[in-house]
């Protein structure tokens, strides 16, 4: 079986036989999910409405699942966006991690410029299915007017408690990590992007982030071959994440330290 790229290959062996058996399924599971989704029709790059769905595979088994659970999947994310007549993209993200127990819903707007800057206000809703008295959280975020060339990012709870997420210079671009799925296709000609500010999950401000191109990766699945374009995104408080795009400009795979997001469906 052809190996996966090192940045997404977590089919490592382990001292524990049970764990070994499960993790050896990683490559098989990865190829099945991605192969099935890539066999469907790609979405028109210029479509006004598109949705991509990803399965979350754990990069490391130990500690994140019950010992009796042999299903690799630890969640999913749906990235739905729609462009309106004023060239503003409306995003709706539904993210669920069955290991943390939290479901996350995000609603936000981005300008259609290449760096997809956040505009207007945004909403964060969480719901916790894990044990504990924490049930849910609702936050509304917004920019504040610039003062002395600085704009602050604030969130407000349903009870009116204001939380400052941070501040950036008025001429800096602030985007959301989920908009990177649309930023990268515009950088496919091996262009990097420096000093980007990312509002991670619309709440954690990560400044001085970089997008750097990687070597190409030919993903082989049976008789099919796909050439992926790679990027690495990292910055302050952001250890490297690895992104792989299809020739059509869709993110096929994205890998963080603990999770590999594998494309499992798309629609427009």
């Amino acid at each position: 079986m052809n190996k996966l790229h090192w940045s997404v290959d977590y089919s490592y062996s382990s001292k524990l036989s049970r764990t070994k058996q499960i993790q050896e399924n990683f490559q098989e599971e990865f190829k099945k999910i991605l192969g099935d989704s890539l066999s469907s029709s790609p979405i028109d790059f210029n479509a006004k409405r598109k949705t991509h769905r990803y399965t979350l595979l754990p990069n490391f088994w130990s500690g994140f699942k019950s010992g009796e659970d042999t299903n690799l999947n630890i969640g999913q994310v749906s990235i739905e966006r729609q462009r309106d007549e004023s060239e503003i993209w409306r995003y709706k993200i539904e993210h669920e991690n069955t290991s943390s127990g939290e479901a996350l819903s995000l609603n936000f707007y981005c300008d259609s410029k290449p760096a997809r800057p956040l505009v207007d206000s945004w909403q964060i809703f969480t719901k916790n299915s894990a044990d504990g008295s924490y049930n849910s959280l609702s936050l509304t975020g917004k920019w504040n007017e610039q003062i002395n060339g600085v704009r602050s990012v604030k969130m407000t709870t349903a009870n009116g408690l204001v939380i400052v997420a941070g501040s950036i210079k008025h001429n800096e671009t602030l985007t959301c990590n989920w908009a990177i799925f649309d930023i990268l296709p515009l950088l496919r000609e091996s262009i990097s992007m420096d000093r980007l500010a990312i509002l991670d999950d619309l709440e954690v401000l990560k400044k001085d982030c970089y997008i750097k191109p990687l070597e190409a990766w030919v993903f082989e699945n049976g008789n099919e071959k796909y050439t992926f374009t790679g990027f690495c995104v990292f910055g302050k408080g952001l250890p490297p994440t690895y992104w792989w795009l299809t020739e059509n400009g869709e993110v096929a795979v994205m890998s963080t330290m603990l999770t590999t997001y594998v494309l499992n469906g798309r629609s427009s």
């Binding site: 490391f60 130990s62 924490y134 250890p239 330290m257």
Partner: protein, 445 residues
């Protein structure tokens, strides 16, 4: 009781004492831990009781050394008859809440604390990426909604920068190019090798068994996977560790910014600490376990975001040795609760309150500060700190020396694992001023 302060104990996992930008480390950016430093007193000679998660945390909640409470290693069993901090606080009128990583073996957290959030399946050793942001959400929700009339003690166990362990595990069975080869960083973007990167080959047996020998190292596959690392790959380990430190600092920022505008701002004491350190390439080692300084020397800050509690601002205490066993008596002292007999630690409250007026709170000149505190300190205090490492070794850290006593097995094959038929033979006391700290990253020395 209603006048007693709320206490917020924020802890990180696997953060060495100097992985903080406020202490002069230019390779990591921690504005929110720095905020705590500016708003409180940093105990610069703070040590964990044991450089592994469960033992260090067991000491946090019992005020006892790990050889006393039954948790000298991950998987130990805490003695049933030892009361923990949650039980003591709850039975004395505090609302004691736990959130995040617990990892105190064989002590059911829910019997001692109210459970705010601990993951779908209680958080084990790792998973900062999964759990820390949810823990922060839970804390935000708590600070937004808590309406009891009694004060709270809230301990928040954030997992990062522990995810650096997964970075290392990632190298067990595959070859990963360095950052320069990947094309994402230039050599000059990486932190330099620590000055103590080259280890002393005469190091004691304990360090050898933990860090060098594939037969005995608890992480032999990692050891094997990184054996041929280039210097840049070691530097990239440190670079990654700092990114995880920054990630957890950002979560701390959200918690502090929530507290800042909450109704609890003016009556909440904040304690910040890490359970143990991270070698991050020092002595050409990774992770923790051993008695090297980077494993056992941790940050410890007591701060407030207000001017009502008597906590000096911006002070670096470079004089007093602090231990993980000090958390229990310190919390109980602030809560106005008598410390149970047998607790080993000392309350830091007298040190914190002794001289907010004596200390020039604006100065960051440690030398000047040391002179003042040496002359004016009349509070009896220990002049060493004691650290254990599983069954394998003991350290006494003094101002000038670190004395390490190691246990040596009669036969090497009996050494691991120690709880399966081990026999320990005390050979002698190895004296070694074992290492220098990380040179230019050592704050104010």
């Amino acid at each position: 009781m209603a006048d007693n302060p709320n206490i917020l104990f924020i802890n990180t996992d696997q953060q060495t004492w100097n992985a903080v930008s406020a202490y002069g480390n230019p390779y990591v950016h921690t504005p929110y831990i720095d905020q705590l430093q500016k708003n409180g007193i940093s105990f610069m000679k703070s040590y964990c009781t044991d450089p592994v998660c469960a033992p260090a945390r067991a000491s946090w909640v019992t005020g006892l050394y790990t050889s006393e409470n039954g948790v000298p290693f991950n998987g130990g069993r805490m003695h049933d008859d030892i009361p923990d901090l949650g039980q003591i606080l709850t039975s004395n009128g505090y609302h004691a809440i736990h959130c995040g990583k617990w990892h105190v073996e064989d002590r059911p957290m829910r019997k001692s604390f109210h459970n705010l959030y601990t993951g779908k399946r209680d958080i084990g050793a790792c998973g900062g990426e999964y759990y820390d942001r949810v823990s922060t959400h839970a804390v935000i929700d708590f600070l937004d909604c808590y309406d009891e009339t009694i004060p709270f003690y809230l301990q928040v166990g954030l997992v990062n920068p522990h995810d650096i362990c997964e970075y290392l595990h990632n190298h067990e069975h595959k070859s990963i190019p360095g950052p320069v080869e990947q094309g994402i960083l230039a050599v000059e973007d990486l932190p330099p090798l620590p000055k103590n990167f080259k280890y002393d080959e005469r190091e004691i047996l304990l360090q050898k068994m933990l860090h060098r020998d594939e037969e005995t190292s608890i992480h032999a596959p990692i050891l094997n996977g990184i054996r041929d690392w280039t210097e840049n790959q070691w530097r990239f380990l440190s670079w990654n560790h700092y990114r995880f430190v920054e990630a957890v600092d950002q979560q701390i920022g959200l918690i502090l910014n929530t507290l800042q505008n909450s109704r609890f701002k003016n009556n909440t004491l904040i304690i910040f600490a890490a359970d143990h350190g991270e070698s991050s390439g020092c002595h050409q080692a990774f992770q923790k376990f051993s008695l090297y300084e980077e494993s056992i020397h941790v940050p410890f800050i007591v701060a407030t975001l207000n001017d009502q509690l008597d906590v000096p601002k911006g002070v670096l205490d470079t004089e007093h040795f602090v231990s993980g066993v000090d958390l229990v008596p310190t919390v109980l002292d602030y809560a106005g609760i008598k410390v149970p007999g047998g607790v080993q630690g000392l309350s830091l409250k007298p040190l914190i309150e002794r001289k907010s007026t004596d200390i020039d709170s604006k100065t960051k000149d440690c030398e000047k500060h040391e002179k003042k505190t040496s002359a004016e300190n009349t509070i009896p205090w220990r002049d060493f700190v004691y650290v254990e490492s599983n069954f394998w070794g003991r350290a006494i850290v003094t101002e000038r020396f670190k004395y390490i006593m190691e246990y040596r097995p009669k036969q090497k094959e009996n050494f691991f694992p120690p709880w399966t038929g081990y026999r320990l033979y005390w050979i002698g006391t190895a004296l070694r001023y074992s290492e220098r700290p990380m040179g230019n990253e050592k704050p104010c020395r």
